[in-house]
């Protein structure tokens, strides 16, 4: 089932659908964009002072908040040299009445899982877009657990890319307290941990990927689809790409089958678009950080 059907309150008429299809075919979408154009993006960081890092990203009328909380924990038995990250997403009913009660649960879960796939790599944490070994404090004993929470405040399509961008911005806003560890004399002793209140380490975000979703409507595919456009999609491919052009994760959604060559084509276009997106996000993030410190 197409989860995006929930994001649209009323359906479109045949005439409107036809108009959207035509616009995508003629490379002039309803708001004047071409197929590979984004809506204006704006970034605000440090919106949740209680969190270690946070950001609000708006792409057109889509508005999301991501927050990062760091807690000390114990690394898992299998990966003693790595920290842990978990991602959760909530769709607030303020965004659309159909998210009330359990209405947003399915979409929230789908988004959270897609984000995990795009940013965190496999179960072992290998190949993750975010470097998990930077979260280790004492190998096998203490590590940082990062809790990433996304909240959809207003929704007009392309939630996954917006959440990905918000997480990237929130991570670059994240300061993790410096920790002094006093290991006991014997290795079995519980180590003494001293968390600094003043010294913070900046999180290294150079490797964090961006997510680009290509939505296929008719014979063509577009980036940054609005919810009207998403209602017309046959399938969508989300690619997460880092600064070096490496693909860090991939999800295909939607029912319709795609020709493998089309998928390859979509991925290479996604990779190309990601370069521009990274540039835009970088400048927006540094502008946001600069205005936050003023």
């Amino acid at each position: 089932m197409d989860p995006y059907q929930f994001t649209k309150m009323v359906g479109l008429s045949t005439g409107e659908k036809h108009f959207i299809w035509g616009g995508i075919a003629q490379d002039l979408r309803s708001d004047g964009r071409q197929r590979l154009h984004y809506r204006p993006i704006s970034v605000e960081t440090g919106v949740i002072p209680q969190a270690n890092g946070s950001a609000r990203v708006r792409i057109g009328a889509t508005d999301v908040i991501a927050s990062i909380k760091a807690e000390l924990g114990k690394p898992s038995m299998h990966q003693p040299g790595k920290g842990k990250i978990s991602i959760f997403v909530d769709c607030s009913p303020t965004a659309a009445p159909m998210f009330e009660g359990r209405g947003g649960e399915e979409l929230s879960t789908e988004l959270a899982v897609a984000l995990q796939r795009c940013l965190l790599g496999g179960k072992s944490g290998a190949g993750a877009g975010i470097d998990l070994s930077s979260l280790i404090v004492t190998e096998g004993k203490i590590c940082w657990d990062l809790y990433i929470d996304g909240l959809v405040v207003s929704s007009d399509g392309n939630l996954l890319d917006a959440l990905g961008a918000a997480i990237k911005a929130a991570l670059s806003n994240t300061g993790i307290p410096k920790v002094n560890v006093d290991l006991g004399p014997s290795p079995d002793d519980q180590p003494e941990v001293n968390v600094s209140d003043e010294e913070f380490l900046q999180f290294d975000t150079s490797g964090v990927p961006v997510i680009v979703t290509l939505t296929k409507v008719g014979r063509h595919y577009i980036v940054d689809a609005t919810s009207d456009e998403e209602s017309q999609m046959s399938s969508a491919v989300s690619v997460s790409v880092n600064r070096h052009g490496h693909i860090c994760g991939l999800t295909k959604r939607g029912g319709a089958g795609l020709d493998p060559s089309v998928i390859m084509d979509m991925i290479s276009v996604g990779k190309h678009v990601s370069e521009q997106l990274i540039t835009v996000l970088d400048s927006e993030i540094s502008a946001a950080e600069a205005s936050a410190t003023d």
Binding site: S54, K69, F88, T94, E100
Partner: protein, 264 residues
Amino acid sequence: MEFVSPEGLRLDGRRPMEMRQIRAEIGAVSSADGSAVFEMGNTKVIAAVYGPREVQNRGQQLNDQALVRCEYSMANFSVGDRARRPKGDRRSIEISLVIRQTMEACILTHLMPRSQIDIFVQVLQADGGTRSACINAATLALADAGIPMRDLVTSCSAGYLNSTPLLDLNYVEDSAGGPDVTVGILPKLDKVTLLQMDAKLPKETFEDVMELAIQGCKAVAQYIREVSTQNFIFLASVSQLSVIRNLSMLHISYLLAQTNEWSI
């Protein structure tokens, strides 16, 4: 623990009768009919109002008044210690109910029969007094949505620690185990619509604490009135309201016809 220092200052440097800084902003959610952000210190909530619109579930339709619904939700990151709580836990349900009843009491529901008004409040940051902040945000959002109301209901809380009545408790003061009195008032009509307290308190002291909370509500009311007036004047001047003063005859006859229906 000492919550009021010998110099008469609280943990965050406030005086006992001092409220945290409040800030409000109207129009945060573009898709909603009305919306507002309300901050009390570090507590920050968003409220969005959808409606009045056709009742979604026909079975719930009321023939003589509007159906008012409310849902309160808390973002995972809103509290200090991050906790993943399932949606619709008992606390959320209770607060949703409190907000709904409080708002329902001031909305002129009989003017919008067979319709539905949804109020959604989302807590972004919780640092004590979320209930009050939610009610204040909901009031502003309803006013922004142009829904007729008897009065602008406002809310504030007060507590009693170290034998001192304290206005507008933050999270640390709230979790100290002392009483927390949440009051909601209709400032113009001078009526209390919401009153909740946990923990015990002698009656005389309770009176003082409640009076303090009411004073807090009045201060909030003054601010909220100012914000909504400012917002209106801004919208009006930008859209050139002065031009639309010439009424057509049709309009007048229609208004006369509606007069009986719309006034009480």
